[in-house]
Symmetry: C2
Subunit: 139 residues, 2 copies
DNA sequence: TATTATATTAGAGTTACTATCAGTCAAGTA
DNA sequence: TACTTGACTGATAGTAACTCTAATATAATA
């Protein structure tokens, strides 16, 4: 059993956000002790991790709540939950692709600046200066 | 020269967001025609794309503004701009890694539900049912 | 000439936190 | 017994980055 602090440390989700999520109905099975303190079980930790995963892929809280509610409803909703996961996975895959493009662009920019710096120091009248002049345009 | 609509279509950034970014000072060189309509040049399009790239990697608008301002200031800021791009690239690389973990988790979940569905339909008293019972816990 | 399309602006609304405050409660320590 | 610590509650305000709405203007088209 884990306190909210331990869950925060284990998952990297702030205590604030965990309470916010709890209030949003994301952890319906978390028990309290006699002092009203939340006691997260290993399974509850699993819920935290899946919520965290869905959020990181950009699923909005309303949709996460829907998924949680389906889980609570039991076996009859397995198909729908499967579809949600499949769609989310596809979304994550597209994000990976997109992020790869951004990484490529940043690598290109890095090279661009690296050349600029190298040539600026060594040689002030080489062809790179054409680029230099256009710097404000090309960023 | 492109209208805001054309830029939106070319880049996938909404007209709304483009105006918001413009207002934030991200496109200082965009000219207007006699009717006060924005006319994006090919170079301006380049600015849109780099801003889009930085946003997609999660760089906050305040930092983007800083980068834009450095660009305007000219050659003396090349080193600092280079550092920003390098740091951003590193950030993007870390995001890729993290997203890969989320993708792995979603793939695992997909398999989990797939097995559940397959076994539920074919055989109601196999070992998978243990998992089924724990579904609400394991999500 | 009337309508439609596209553009502009200011400003309100939204999401998902994030932070702060005020106050309660219980457990452990000096 | 007083004090500190950690957790809880609720309310409220602030923030980032959009996102949407409304009011208005111009230009092209029927």
């Amino acid at each position: 059993m884990y306190t909210i602090k331990e869950v925060s440390e284990k998952t990297g989700v702030s205590e604030h956000t965990l309470r916010f999520w709890a209030k949003s109905g994301f952890f319906p099975f978390v028990k309290r002790n006699q002092n009203n303190i939340r006691q997260f079980s290993e399974d509850d930790l699993g819920w935290v991790r899946i919520v965290q995963c869905l959020r990181k892929v950009g699923i909005e809280n309303k949709s996460i709540k829907r998924y949680i509610d389906l889980c609570i409803m039991g076996d009859s909703t397995i198909q729908e939950r499967y579809e949600i996961i499949k769609t989310t996975k596809e979304k994550a895959r597209k994000q990976m692709e997109d992020l790869k493009h951004q990484l490529d662009m940043l690598e290109y920019k890095e090279q661009f600046y690296q050349n600029l710096i190298k040539n600026n120091l060594k040689d002030s009248w080489n062809p790179m200066n054409k680029m230099k002049e256009n710097l404000n345009c090309a960023i």
